[in-house]
């Protein structure tokens, strides 16, 4: 093998770089995000149920919100009938945030964990806890 050491060195560097995400997290504690649903509005509910199933909301809430935006602003459709037949107002501020009034402990919990920075809050007003920036 010509220049064998170069190839092997290259391979070693490659393997180190590829496994970096794993090796770097060795020794670090895994902190599971714990979004809190402990808000006055949710406490009042008999059955603590979001508009759709927990799994669906967890996976697809941004898709749902995005479609809501278009329905409301483009088609003037502002009523959402959930899978269970219940009616909701299509509005982040006037529906979702009425229950989830704890943005920092709910939204931010997972968003920070996965390092996404949704720009909802540039315009939509988060409920008064931290309030205005």
């Amino acid at each position: 093998m010509y220049d064998g050491w170069k190839i092997i060195l290259g391979l070693i560097v490659f393997v180190i770089i590829v496994t970096l995400p794993f090796t770097m997290s060795i020794g670090r504690d895994y902190v599971k995000p714990q979004p809190s649903i402990d808000t006055p509005e949710i406490q009042k509910m008999e059955k603590k149920q979001c508009i759709e199933s927990k799994q669906y909301m967890r996976e697809a809430h941004i898709k749902l919100l995005y479609s809501w935006k278009d329905y409301a602003s483009r088609e003037g459709k502002r009523v959402y009938i959930a899978s269970d037949g219940k009616e909701y107002t299509i509005s982040l501020q006037n529906n979702c945030l009425k229950c989830h009034s704890n943005k920092e402990k709910f939204c931010d919990e997972c968003h920070n964990y996965v390092n996404v920075k949704p720009y909802c809050w540039d315009c939509h007003i988060e409920p008064k806890v931290g309030g205005l920036k």
Binding site: W68, R74, E75, G76, Y80, I81, Q93, C123, I125, K133
Partner: protein
């Protein structure tokens, strides 16, 4: 042994059942699952329009009440510097409201009036044509709407609008809002905003804030509905519109 003829019969019958079955399952499924609908209370109109009775606006207070109602509800920032100001509805004098068409020999009283200006929700709106990302668009009911999520802040629409109805957010708007209305969003730095004909209220069956606050001085209704109140006042009074010569078909009428 099954004959060839029987086999064909059976299989034809089976496929029929299969087809019918899948159709009926689909029909059942359509009824379930989430749905998105219009509010039953929503006002219905084909072309929303506004008539402002300029004879009835007498004092500064008459104007202020209307302007404040809109700006407060929609979290419009209050910026004093005219270079950066943001306004959805404002006042202007006769000559600047109706340049070109302003009749020089009209009565002194009319010349001295002030006029409420806002987005004209033109039937043939230039801002819609120039928007490169379709952030500005026409709703079915004629409202010229803007999707703030999509706006890239290119300001083309500001250049396209002959009425100065569009405002760019040069400064972070939240710093200039005294009291936030938590039911409505604000805008962010770098987007354009304007009057939305209160479509969020129309969709809930309510009249625009300015119409409500004017206590009868502004009439709002469906221009395509021959028996509507707005058609009546337009037919019975002398009306002018801003810069009709441009062919934009403004939907805000001024009763003189």
């Amino acid at each position: 042994m099954i004959t060839r003829r029987d086999f064909l019969k059976i299989s034809a019958f089976a496929s029929l059942i299969g087809l019918g079955g899948s159709l009926s399952i689909e029909a059942l499924e359509k009824k379930q699952g989430p749905q998105v609908l219009k509010d039953l209370k929503a006002l219905k109109g084909k072309r929303w329009a506004m008539a402002i009775d300029t004879r009835k606006f007498k004092t500064q207070e008459d104007f202020d009440k209307v302007i404040k109602a809109c700006h407060k509800a929609h979290n419009v920032p209050e910026i004093m510097n005219p270079l950066h100001e943001v306004k959805w509805i404002w006042t202007e004098d006769y000559e600047h409201s109706f340049p070109g068409t302003a009749e020089h020999y009209i009565s002194k009283e009319v010349k001295e009036r002030k006029f409420l200006l806002l987005c004209n929700h033109c039937d043939n709106a230039p801002c819609i044509r120039v928007c490169p990302v379709k952030a500005t668009f026409k709703r079915e009911d004629g409202i010229t709407m803007q999707d703030m999520h999509r706006c890239i802040g290119c300001k083309f629409c500001m250049a396209g609008c002959p009425y100065g109805a569009r405002n760019y957010n040069f400064l972070p708007p939240r710093d200039y809002i005294k009291e936030l209305n938590p039911e409505y969003p604000t805008r962010m730095l770098g987007v354009v905003e304007k009057c939305t004909f209160c479509n969020e209220r129309i969709d809930r069956g309510l009249l625009p804030y300015c119409v409500e606050a004017s206590e009868g001085k502004i009439i709002f209704g469906d221009l395509y509905e021959p028996n509507s109140e707005i058609r009546k006042v337009l037919a019975e009074n002398i009306i002018i519109r801003r810069k009709v010569e441009l062919g934009t078909q403004p939907m805000v009428f001024y009763i003189i």
